[in-house]
Amino acid sequence: MGLRGYLVKRLLNTAILVIFVIIVNFAIFELLPGPNGALANLTGRAHGNPQAIQNLQINLGLCTGFTADNKCIAPSVWDKFAIYFKNMLTFQFGQSQQSGNSVLSDMISTGRLWNTLTLLGTATAVSLAVGIFLGVLVASRRGTLFDSSMVTVSLTTFSLPTFFMGLVLLLVFALWIPLFPPGGVTPSSWILGTPSLPDQILTRIRYLFLPALTLTLFFYGGNLLLTRATMGEALTEDYITTARAKGLSERVVLFKHALKNASLPIVTNAALAFGGILGGAIITETIFTWDGLGLWLYHAIGWHDFPVLQAMFYIIALCVIGANLISDIVYGMIDPRIKYE
């Protein structure tokens, strides 16, 4: 089986996963009593006008129609699932109960998606770069004081929960030494008018710094430890001795010869850790009131805004599935030894 077969198999696997996620989502949000109770509560608010209530119940999919004596005809589970499945695939998540707008427009046109992507992208990139770089350095100086202290530090930051780390950073760098703003994405004065682009970038970086640092501190440790382990193995290989014997500089040996071969598990781990990063983002955004999807989810919990909750869960699951697919593909491309089976 060649690369194409491998890709087809991965894609098929991904499709099955998406269907599985939709089924889980359906089971949580349509079959459990919680959200339906909330919907019933919502329809109860139509101020007693029977016609309005009936229209609302039909719109929300609680009833398919009404009998002559105004009894609700409930749809079968299968009908419900068919509609639900179609809605999920076409990203029709209904209306947010907080704002009344469609969930999709609340997600994208308010800039939430973009804010979250900025935060996640920065944190992932920095934690990968820092983790791998330090991991390589540590691996080449194994057994030294630098090695043991780096390992201790990264184990510590790795085991401190995100919410604790975030609050401590907030306390130290926003309250005691007010270097950074305590929260938000942009200053509130920007509603009146935004300054020129160079000013904007500096201010935005100041706002991004603490949340990104929180996430980075949580995730660089894993990358560092993993790189150290895989590099330690790679550095004992014969081709490293050969490279050194050829007179290549240590930098080239480490980063070109050893790291390239040691990078496979790091790629896999980055994809697997993506779900964790998303979980961390929910908490980080809550602490720093970073107006992204995580903070939105947090508010949706308080509001019992089930359309938003289920959309968020679906989108997050899709992101993780996508990350896994990408890592599979990258894996197939960077390692010629993989036999695509």
Binding site: L17, L170, L175, Y298, I301, H304, F313, V320
Partner: protein, 471 residues
């Protein structure tokens, strides 16, 4: 015959295992930290008299008292209360003490009028003034009285100045009489009573920042020929300081130390029970898939893979948000969604064990599947179970804390996570972020998790001789 010797043998084996484990220094540290938290959890009612969800103990946002060790005593105070009543009656009345702060005065027709004086004393020991003063005095007249009498209450800085809290008031009816306005420095009417502007603190005004002796006095002036009974109840004055206890107070004046101590119970409960559930399900599925193989294995492992991909925290968030956030639901949900990795490990171990000669031998001698699983396979994977137990508990603890932090925890209890969540949101402004409300629960979560992780790694090293470092 073999039955009686069995239990001691297991005990000895456990003891030897423990001794071997504690030879590892990090494991010993982990064990000490873990035992400390277990002690906190068990001894909570002895360690702290305050219930975590009980009434407030002091003013909101009081930092811990020991900060005076670093910042010096200047400007800091603690809670203080005036001592029990001392009585100074001039033979006018028969006095019987009802309680520490309550007294009954019986007047049997004195020939001359006079004054009964009730005094409570305090040598104020702090170099800072209190945050708030809160006083009570109830003068209860149970029976009808013939002649009206007068009551007055004040605080003396002895030999310096006098602050009148209850102006001379004529009492001529039965029932309970209280000072008006109430003796409470948080109310502006009280400031007005002392002739103080609303922007000042009455507590600072009366208890100026210095060490001095004070007395709180209630005077009852009775006219000649007065007959009757007067009950003085709850005559006391409390000073709420600007520091409190070991870990200070939260935004409602609750004791943070007791919240942390009781929180250790909840965290250990959640961590252990959720892990037991996870391990149980993982063992069941791993053993089934590994030993039965074929289609069962395929179906179980594909399901496991799919569940592994679904992001854990968001899944729990939506499940808790829809099902409900009782502690029992949280434990069950964390348990039932944390078995996947363990099931995979067990399965692979079982797959390799299944092909070993001793299993074949057991099969050949006619042992059934259940017997082989229980007697030959299970003992060989017990070590994995211990390691996984130690490494899953911190995950469960942190997950529960994250849920509570997001406001999805059990609303009836205060856990470390919900303390952090409350510290984050209370006051709605960064200036309300109190370090004594963040560091204790946060460090507790981190330390408790770390203790389990250290034990887990040490056990892993013990069971996998290849991981053992050469010493």
């Amino acid at each position: 015959m073999s039955q009686p010797t069995r239990v001691p043998f297991l005990l000895i084996r456990f003891k030897n295992f423990l001794l071997l484990l504690l030879k590892n220094k990090l494991a010993a540290v982990g064990m000490v930290v873990l035992l400390l938290f277990v002690f906190l959890a068990v001894a909570a009612p002895i360690l702290t008299p305050y219930a975590p969800t009980g009434a407030s103990v002091s003013e909101p946002y009081d930092p811990p008292s020991w900060i005076t060790t670093f910042n010096g005593p200047l400007g800091y105070s603690q809670n203080a209360q005036f001592s029990a009543l001392t009585l100074n009656a001039t033979g006018l009345a028969t006095i019987s003490k009802q309680a520490a702060h309550s007294v009954r005065l019986t007047f049997a027709s004195p020939l001359t009028g006079g004054t009964v004086q009730l005094t409570e004393k305090l040598s104020y020991p702090y170099q800072g003034s209190p945050k708030r003063l809160l006083g009570f005095a109830i003068v209860d007249v149970p029976n009808s009285i013939g002649k009206p009498f007068t009551v007055t209450a004040f605080v003396d800085r002895i030999g310096v100045s006098r602050f009148v809290f209850w102006s001379p008031t004529e009492i001529n009816s039965t029932g309970q009489h209280l000072p008006s306005p109430p003796i409470d420095s948080s109310q502006s009417t009280f400031n007005a009573k002392l002739g103080l502007g609303a922007q000042f603190s009455a507590a600072t005004y009366v208890f100026a920042a210095q060490i001095a002796d004070y007395q709180y006095v209630l005077q009852i002036h009775v006219p000649a020929g007065f007959v009757g009974t007067i009950d003085v109840q709850d005559f006391q004055l409390s000073l709420l300081g600007n520091t409190w206890g070991i870990f200070g107070t939260d935004d409602a004046g609750h004791d943070i130390f007791s919240q942390v101590v009781y929180g250790s119970r909840l965290s250990l409960e959640v961590g252990l029970f959720a892990t037991f559930i996870g391990i149980g399900v993982g063992l069941l599925i791993g053993l089934t898939a590994g030993y039965l193989g074929k289609l069962v294995d395929e179906v179980l492992m594909r399901t496991t893979d799919m569940l592994l991909v679904i992001p854990f925290l968001p899944l729990l968030i939506v499940l808790v948000a829809t099902i409900g956030s009782g502690l029992i639901y949280i434990i069950l949900l964390i348990g039932f969604f944390s078995w996947m990795g363990f099931a995979r490990i067990i399965r692979s171990q079982v797959l390799s064990l299944r092909e070993r000669p001793f299993i074949e031998a057991a099969k050949a001698s006619g042992a059934g599947t259940g017997y082989i699983t229980a007697r030959h396979i299970f003992p060989n994977i017990v070590s994995l179970t211990y390691v996984n137990l130690a490494l899953s508990v911190p995950a469960a603890i942190v997950t529960e804390a994250a849920l509570s932090f997001l406001g999805l925890g059990d609303p009836t209890v205060i856990t470390w996570g919900s303390m952090l969540g409350a510290a984050n949101t209370a006051g709605g402004s960064i200036s309300n972020l109190a370090w004594w409300w963040i560091i204790p629960p946060g460090l507790s979560i981190a330390l408790l998790s770390l203790s389990f992780i250290l034990l887990g790694y040490a056990m892993d090293e013990l069971f996998n001789p290849r991981l053992r470092r050469r010493r």
